[in-house]
Symmetry: C2
Subunit: 214 residues, 2 copies
Amino acid sequence: MTNQIDPASTLSGVSTITPQQYGVGARFTLAVYDSRYAEIIVGALERADASGLTVDTDDISTFIGGTEQRILEYLRDVIAFAADSGAHVSASILLSRGCPGELQCELPQGVAALGAEPVSLKPATVRARAHWSLYPLLDGGATIDHMSPIYEAIEQARADGIYSGSDHFATRLDGDLAGVLTTAANAWIAVGHKVQHVTTHLSVSMNSPSLMSD
Amino acid sequence: MTNQIDPASTLSGVSTITPQQYGVGARFTLAVYDSRYAEIIVGALERADASGLTVDTDDISTFIGGTEQRILEYLRDVIAFAADSGAHVSASILLSRGCPGELQCELPQGVAALGAEPVSLKPATVRARAHWSLYPLLDGGATIDHMSPIYEAIEQARADGIYSGSDHFATRLDGDLAGVLTTAANAWIAVGHKVQHVTTHLSVSMNSPSLMSD
């Protein structure tokens, strides 16, 4: 296991933790509804710039480790390149922070929450619709409830012009793929200033033939 | 908005709440990596028995409301029927409990946690591999930390023979599709006995050509 962190130094010296040591990362599954899916997925992964990132693709999903800005740029590019094929494409995306490691968190509970600058993404020029959920993972000593940051994030999505409605268990987002990703990522980062372990899940759809015109 | 619950009666009479009033439900996106995806997805949805369930498919995902047992039977059937086509299939699944409604939880924070009997599923006779995450969504007054129930769930997955390793942000499950779904659902139900709002996400893959033989 790499990146093992000494809890004592962590608690006293948060500023020395890198995003990867803090567990900033993503996991995503790219689905292409087309018999040419293998060449489209491999092509999109090869075409995207992975510099500065740890990228590891297995049979279920792809892990990305790095800074928030670079992770989101990479997600935008891989997904947009796949959508460029014209095929119906969906992506299931998980962003996580504050709980690095695999079987167990390598950071102890109660580390000072580590936020980040908001990400800023150039448009992808492909329309995306998404179902989005945000999870502040509090512990017993927390001084806030878990729904308040979620309601704040939904208000921000409205302000961004990306909010498109609420369905059971998920908020509906609609806009340029970059805008959809930016809204979800910046909510995740904002909650990350107050809560150590925060995850967010997005199910994004592009080029859907069942997309109602509106 | 239907199923609005009077908080006062909720707090004093939990036994009168139906699973749907408690927000027991699922949302899933079924992806078929084949140009015949539309007929395969529509066929699987039509073939599965939705009796006793509320099922609502939109352009991004499908909502299922009902009892835990019926929801999981339906998920097993729809996904297995799609995999029967022989195409590479993946499914992104969200199970949620304790927070009904759309934009806002219709149950107040602090309602007595409502568990359920474990689900029991007949084998689907299709092998599935999954990345799985479990989220106990605690509030400030909680007396437990959020990672303990997750570690307990991973131990149970080992006991079930479904655990296949841990990757960043997710536990790897491997087995018959029914076993994978049962392990995830019963962990979600078990945590639901102690925590009101619990969600779990699964990214499941079947018929993957990149599946390494083992």
